[in-house]
């Protein structure tokens, strides 16, 4: 087929991009070459709209072994151990085909982690759906949850935490972000940089089929009315093969035969081979007749662009082929020598003894387009003028009931009970806590992980929102007693070609970067997902942050459940009663304007570090950070989990009960302290200039707020646990 501009545009390339290709090659590309360019130059693979801004992220730190740019980030957790982790989006495919889309998202991120030599030890996910009224939501939710469970459960990796939200901005574009943590010895990390000439290039794993062709291009475009037609671009997952691939790769990695290894993810064989060659500053030659194919008569174009799952590309030391093949034979997986490294700095493909493509590697990578897109600055919205005398008309109990049963607050056990969260025998904090926690097998250490996003705050003011999510993950880690180490981010936005969406992206990144820098909490990996939009409407800006922290001794882990009657409860951090953009404002007042709560990084850092200090001194019996829904929501969850009540006394601030109980001021935690330690705890808080309120005493069965208001734990539990189960029944 003769290539022309029209065909290039059908491949998702812009007219000037096509002209650039012709100029770089000094000729018109053939169809296979065009396919390769379109796969490498799409937004998903090239980061052409985001690269220029991602450079501003804070990525360095003492604990960082590998920052962004590899298959996943790596951080040091002492004693020669390291954690490999990353989050990635699988939004577009999950909307088209929820089960397979979500499943292969989980499979893809696990592959990114074990490609680096790490055994996956925990999965997390952040999933966002349209309004519960939307007729598609229920089926999408069911399909996505089944898909995540279907893949992760079969792999035998526990799913330890997650986040689910509902918002009408996701009606036409759901978000499915999957995160994996793996454990590796620091001196056994594998990278994707090829090295040496004439080294064998090996293909292992599943056979190549026609599934997923152009998946990455599909993920780089907005949806329209014909989106259902794109179903064939969704890959089909086979977790069983991936489990075998995991075991086989780890077995091979125990030896010393691998030079470089790269999984075939987005844009399959194309991006994996080019990535390895580019990083090694080498050429690569592939005989496509050697590629194991599932279907007959596959063309070079199809073989190069297939996104069939569970495949890896390895550059091996010479002479190690037989030894490696034995391992893959044992696990019943395909193994084929398909090419070699060369000094030409070209990627050259042969099929039926003819050269079918020859492209300089640098034209695909370094010369790929990079755009400084136009973007619009946002302004901090004006505060709402709320008539506070109205607040006296609300009954606290009625408000609490509405908030606890809100889809974005209610218990998600219907979801996480479908995920195996205990396999591997090291899960010491299950989903539903502030962070999931797994022990580092056979040691006293444990790793905590959390995933968060606050699209509403980001939408109201992107810089503040970006900062806030980073801080929320930081608080979630500290609340379980873990010292925060680093984050991974998944940046889900609308079209970068829209100035407002692009502005949201740029400013969220700015907020994330500021917070990371201040907290010494770097970004080590991540992914950008643009074009989460249908026709002209994009999703609310939804950067998702995955945070990872370390507990030196897992026995010091904290949970949020109230422990003992008679213990005192303190609220750490200052409550100003910020109602704008709170759940109270949206659900009860139906007010959607106003600024999000301010993020004071000094207070975040000071409050968090002081709490960690108290935890390490063993003064804290339970802890929970205060976020969506405010303080009374947080207290309710501590009561439900601990099956205990609390006698509350609101401090005599000027602000009303509603503002104190449902305001969403940042940097706050609730802590439970034994009365014998109270004096010393207060002493330490004072010494560190941390504001605190003594707010109550743990009692048996109720939340007692004042003479008028009393709510039993059973009532709280029924408010909180019934909505999702009823909705999905």
């Amino acid at each position: 087929m003769l290539v022309n501009e029209k065909i290039a545009i059908e491949h998702g390339l812009k007219s000037d991009e096509y002209k650039k290709i012709c100029k770089l090659l000094k000729r018109v590309p053939n169809i296979t070459e065009l396919g390769i360019f379109s796969a490498m130059w799409n937004e998903h693979c090239s980061y052409k709209s985001s690269r220029i801004h991602l450079k501003k992220l804070h990525t360095k730190g003492k604990k960082v072994i590998q920052g962004p740019g590899e298959n996943a980030g790596v951080v040091d957790i002492e004693d020669g151990d390291a954690i490999v982790f990353k989050i990635e989006s699988h939004n577009h495919p999950s909307f088209i085909e929820p089960y397979q889309g979500a499943a292969t998202g989980v499979g893809g991120i696990m592959r990114d982690v074990f490609t680096m030599g790490a055994r996956p030890i925990a999965n997390l996910n952040s999933i966002h759906f349209g309004s519960s009224q939307n007729k598609k939501t229920k089926n999408l939710l069911r399909g996505v949850v089944h898909g995540i469970g279907g893949y992760g459960n079969c792999m035998g990796v526990p799913t330890i935490a997650g986040q689910t939200s509902f918002d009408s901005s996701y009606n036409g574009n759901i978000l499915v972000n999957a995160m994996t943590l793996g454990l590796v010895k620091k001196n056994k990390i594998f990278y994707s940089k090829a090295a040496g000439l004439n080294k064998p290039v090996i293909y292992v794993g599943s056979k190549t089929g026609r599934d997923g062709i152009h998946g990455a291009s599909m993920a780089s475009a907005s949806f329209d009315d014909k989106i259902e037609e794109k179903k064939p671009t969704v890959q089909v997952g086979d977790p069983f093969t991936e489990k075998l691939l995991l075991e086989a790769c780890l077995e091979l990695m125990a030896g010393d035969s691998i030079i470089a290894i790269q999984d075939m993810g987005a844009a399959g064989l194309t991006s994996s081979s080019i990535e390895m060659a580019s990083k090694g500053n080498l050429g690569i030659e592939i005989n496509l007749n050697k590629v194991p194919c599932r279907e007959t008569k596959m063309t070079p174009y199809e073989i190069m662009l297939s996104e069939s799952q569970e495949r890896m590309l390895i550059v091996l030391e010479n002479g190690k082929e037989d030894q490696a093949k034995k391992i893959f034979d044992k696990w019943g997986l395909d193994f084929a020598v398909i090419g070699k490294t060369t000094n030409t700095k070209n990627i050259e493909l042969f099929f039926d003894k003819k050269s079918v493509a020859k492209i300089p590697v640098n034209t695909l990578v370094e010369n790929s387009p990079m755009y400084d897109r136009k973007w619009k600055k946002s302004k901090l919205p004006k505060k709402n003028k709320i008539n506070k005398t109205e607040f006296n008309n609300f009954k606290i109990k009625d408000v609490l009931k509405k908030i606890l049963s809100n889809p974005n607050i209610c218990s998600k056990d219907w979801i996480w009970e479908q995920y195996d969260h205990t396999v591997m025998g090291d899960t010491i904090q299950k989903p539903g806590g502030d962070s999931g926690v797994v022990r580092v097998h056979g040691t006293e250490k444990a790793v905590a992980a959390t995933v968060d996003s606050s699209a509403i705050y980001c939408w109201a003011h992107p810089i503040t929102g970006g900062k806030q999510i980073v801080c929320e993950t930081w608080r979630n880690l500290i609340s379980v007693g873990a010292r925060p180490i680093a984050i991974t981010n998944c940046l889900n936005f609308g079209s970068p070609e829209n100035e407002e969406n692009m502005g949201e992206f740029v400013e969220c990144v700015q907020g994330i970067s500021e917070a990371c820098k201040y907290l010494d909490y770097p970004v080590v990996s991540g992914n950008v997902s643009f074009y989460n939009q249908t026709k002209d409407v994009g999703v609310k800006p939804t950067p998702t942050i995955g945070g990872v922290g370390l507990l030196r001794n897992y026995k010091n882990m904290i949970t949020m459940s109230f422990k003992d009657i008679g213990n005192q409860v303190l609220l750490i951090g200052k409550t100003e009663g910020h109602i704008d953009q709170s759940l109270f404002a949206r659900v009860i007042l139906d007010e959607k304007k106003g600024p999000p709560p301010e993020v004071n990084l000094f207070n975040e850092k000071n409050n968090g570090e002081t709490l960690l200090n108290l935890i390490e001194k063993n003064y804290i019996r339970s802890a929970h950070d205060i976020s969506l829904g405010g303080m009374l929501t947080a207290i309710s969850k501590m009561c439900i989990k601990g099956n205990k009540g609390i006698k509350l006394k609101k401090p005599t601030y000027l602000i009303s009960e509603i503002e104190y109980f449902f305001g969403e001021d940042q940097g706050r935690y609730l802590i439970e302290v034994n009365p014998k330690d109270l004096k010393e705890v207060i002493n330490i808080l004072n010494k560190n200039s941390v504001h605190y309120d003594e707010i109550g005493t743990i009692i048996e069965n109720d939340i007692e707020i004042n003479q008028k208001t009393k709510v039993t734990i059973d009532e709280l539990r029924s408010y909180n646990t019934s909505w999702l189960k009823k909705y999905m029944a």
């Binding site: 079969c154 489990k243 075998l244 479908q418 205990t422 396999v423 025998g425 899960t427 299950k430």
Partner: protein, 227 residues
């Protein structure tokens, strides 16, 4: 005491079982499904997971593995065999225990703590256990035990039901049945009671930091019974 844990392609609780057996004093060996011979063992365990991806039918392909000939012979000569979760499904497919395991009643994977009632202590697995109700953990998609009426009668006549799903006080009823199993059956013996298949995972309940510790009680008791 010596134990062996079989690893099938797709097993994923094999390591957890190894950790548990070793912790309570077994000398455990891992055995590959494609091996012919079993090491000398006092106990063989078929672990949980997704052998062969649960494709075709859960446990079906694994039940035809090379090693299973030896496992079947070992069981028929009176050796102790325990199958957990996918291991239970393999035992059913191999014909070592009666019945079948269907998809859970609500068509969902379930991962949570459950209570089980131990009714039958005249066997090596539960003899001398001083508790009637144990808190175990389940994680499965196909744990809905089913058999014909004739089979059920025979099972009951032979006292082959090992454990039932129950509440914390030992009451068995439909509300606490997590997967729709007939008679709330969570585990079952062969006629001779040297083969036990059960859905719950005792190996996930072996220290205070995990979901509970009743697994420790089970393993300690089992070791004492074998000694």
């Amino acid at each position: 005491m010596k134990s062996s844990v079989i690893t099938f392609p797709g097993s994923n609780c094999d390591r957890d079982m190894d950790v548990a057996l070793t912790k309570f004093g077994f000398k455990n060996k891992m055995v590959w499904h494609d091996d012919q011979e079993l090491p000398k063992s006092d106990l063989i365990v078929l672990p949980g997971g997704f052998s062969y991806g649960d494709y075709l039918r859960c446990g079906s392909m694994a039940s035809k593995s090379k090693i299973m000939h030896s496992v079947i012979n070992f069981a028929k000569s009176g050796g102790l065999v325990m199958g957990i979760c996918n291991g239970f499904q393999i035992l059913v497919e191999a014909g070592l225990v009666p019945g079948v395991l269907l998809r859970n009643k609500y068509l969902q994977f379930i991962c949570k703590n459950v209570h089980v009632k131990v009714d039958n202590k005249e066997n090596t697995f539960f003899k001398n256990l001083d508790k009637q109700v144990l808190e175990f953990h389940i994680a499965h998609n196909e744990g809905n035990y089913f058999c014909t009426n004739d089979q059920l009668k025979e099972i009951e006549d032979n006292n082959q039901i090992a454990i039932y799903y129950c509440d914390q006080n030992g009451n068995t009823n439909d509300q606490i049945n997590p997967n729709g199993s007939i008679k709330n059956i969570a585990g079952i013996f062969n006629k001779e009671k040297n083969v036990l298949g059960m859905m719950p995972h005792p190996e996930r309940m072996i220290d205070e930091s995990l979901s509970g510790e009743d697994g420790s009680i089970f393993f300690k008791n089992l070791l004492n019974n074998i000694k």
